[in-house]
Every structure is written in C-alpha cells, then in structure tokens.
Symmetry: C2
Subunit: 202 residues, 2 copies
C-alpha cells in the first residue's frame, strides 16, 4: 500500500505497477479487484476513472508490457549483434538465455492469458497473438534475408523453440533450457543456410 | 444436465466428464462449482462425497487425462513405428500433427494449469511437471539408445519444440505448426546422429 503523498505516482501508474507485481505470483486474469486496489493504494472509484473494467486494465498492462519486452529484446540484439541477420537470430536466443536465467523470471503473461482464456476474441488474447506474430515476423524477415530454405516453416520452428523454452522453464523440469533452444536454433539455421558441414566442428 | 436414471454413469464419472467438457472452453482452474454441478447433473453433497474440494477433482481429472493422453501417444507410436528409436521419435511428432490437427483440439491442460498457477507446490502443478518429465524421458531414453550427441540437451530442445508447437497452436498465429516442429526435430536428430549429410537430400 503506497500512501497518498505529493511524490507518489498517479493512481493509473500505481494500478499498472500493482498489477505488474501481482503478475509475478499468478495469472493477471485471476487478480481480484480488491487485492489490486489494496496493493496499489487506490480507491475503487479511481480504478473506474481510468479503466472501464479490470479487464481493460489488464489489456493496458499487456500493451505496456509488450512495448517494454520488445525494447529489452531489441536493445539486447543491438548490443550483441551487428547487421548480420544470422547473428541477430542467435542474439535473440541469447536474450532468451538472459531472460530465463534471471532470478525474477516469472513467465510470459501473453502465453498465460492465452492458454487460460482459450478463445481469441478477448482483447487480452489479441495482445497475446500480436506478441507471437511480432516474434514470428522477427525470425521470418531475417530468414528471408539469409536465403534460408523454407523460411516460413523455419520461423515457426524457431518460435516454437523460443516459446517452448519459456513454457518448459515455467514447468521447472530441467536446467539450461534456453541454452538447449539456442543450440537447436543454431543447428537449424546452419542446415537451412547450407552451412552445416562447414560449421559443425567449430 | 444428465437426468438420474438407472443407466446414467455414477456421479463421480459424471463430474469428471463434465470437467472434461468444460476444459474445452477455458481453464479447468476457472470452472465454478455451480457450473460443474449443473453440467454433471450432480448435487453438491455428491461432489464432496467423492472429492474434498474442487481442486481435488481437478487433480483427479488431470491424472486421468495424463493416463489417457499417454495411452493415445503410445498407441500412435506402436502403430507408426517399429522398434527403431529414431522412428519412434519421428512418430511422436507425427502424433503431434494428428493431435493439433483435430477439429476438437483444445490445448494442453497441463500447460494451462502450470502457467496459471505458477508455483510448483499445488498438486495440479505437480501433475503438469509429471507430464513434462515423462515426455522428456521418452525423448531422452531414445536419444541415448541412438548414441546422439548431448542427449540431455537435445531431449530438452525436442520437448521445447513439442510443447512450443502446442502453445503456438493455441495462439493460432500460423498453420502447419506441428509439421514445422516435426521437420525441425528430424533435422536436429539427423545432425545429432551424424546422419545429416546422408539424409539431407532425401
């Protein structure tokens, strides 16, 4: 509970931050309004001044989360790869290693809301699809530039490895899952770009 | 609502069947007791005669679902592969294609409950980990038999492709996701077993 004070962030920001914190221990879809208000230190009327419903707050939070996530992702890639699309794909899997290796890793809310809601008409589900489409497009564009075989299919396989690593990490059954995904991606890229024989013994 | 009659299944079975049906449109964790009783045509007292709580029913359902799922999986593999571990892994991905291609595909409840619950202490989460561990062991045992390089890491990558395909299918962003996973698995297996050069142009 943050006390109202001249230096406290405005209620809208406090609601988003409270949801962010609550998202670490469970699905954002399951956060109750009262728990949210208590965590944010905000009155119910103030919630409904800013959002028509708790679901609308969840969608706004997912939208902000998506912007933040891709900003971390793209910064990591800029810092770890030059202009070569092959290096950029590898750096994307390097980001996965950093992300899944963080002590505060708490899963991917886009996957969580999609699996929980199932249907695709809910605005939160649309956010989840936008996230996955953007990641798929990242891989696909670079595979096309590389002249990889079957870039559409390989982009899907890389997306499966990527999001699969997130899910298996949440299951907590094995170690070094992101490393396994990164090395599998390396092999798939090499084979698709006809470089497998050259790189295999490096 | 199933009317009570001499031929109706017993209440316990009706509760499990009702949860099965409700699992197709949302997370089993979110099914309300009243909706469940209405769908099963069972009185509340009867639910608590058989289960201490709705969560206990969910865990019993996940346990039955796991037995059924691995029975479908193993039957498919027996019907589509001989004793060769390489063929068996390929057939496992063939099962994924059949499963994800079904009109009534409705996702994987193990992943859904795990992502929704996050923590690992809930008995439903333990069921999810058991499912993933069993699938990982399936791949790992066969990779060891094949003498594949780094069988532990490759088993993780195959599990990531497998469960990643399920998750991406639920997101509904692309077609032929299981086929993409199957072909990626084929490439990874070939490279790990040093057969890539032989098979690449087949």
């Amino acid at each position: 509970m943050i006390a109202d004070s001249p230096t406290a962030p405005p209620p809208k920001q406090r609601l988003l931050s409270a949801l962010d914190e609550l998202s670490r221990t469970g699905s954002v879809m399951d956060v109750g309004v009262n728990a949210l208000l208590a965590k944010a230190g905000v009155a119910k009327a103030s919630l409904y001044d800013h959002f028509r419903s708790k679901d609308e707050l969840v969608v706004a939070w997912l939208d902000a989360r998506q912007t933040a996530w891709f900003s971390w992702f793209e910064t990591h890639i800029r810092e770890h790869a030059g202009g070569d699309p092959d290096e950029q794909i590898d750096a994307a899997f390097g980001f996965l290693e950093s992300w899944l290796g963080r002590d505060d890793f708490s899963g991917c809310p886009f996957l969580t809301v999609q699996l929980q809601l199932k249907g695709t008409s809910h605005p939160a589900s649309q956010q989840a699809r936008r996230y996955a489409n953007r990641l798929h497009a990242f891989f696909h564009e670079r595979l096309v530039s590389l002249g990889a075989d079957h870039p559409e299919r390989l982009a899907s396989a890389l997306l499966e490895l990527y999001l699969g690593a997130v899910v298996v990490q949440e299951l907590g059954t094995s170690d070094r899952l992101a490393r396994a995904a990164r090395e599998a991606a390396r092999t798939l890229l090499d084979v698709a770009c006809d470089a497998s024989v050259l790189r295999k013994d490096v």
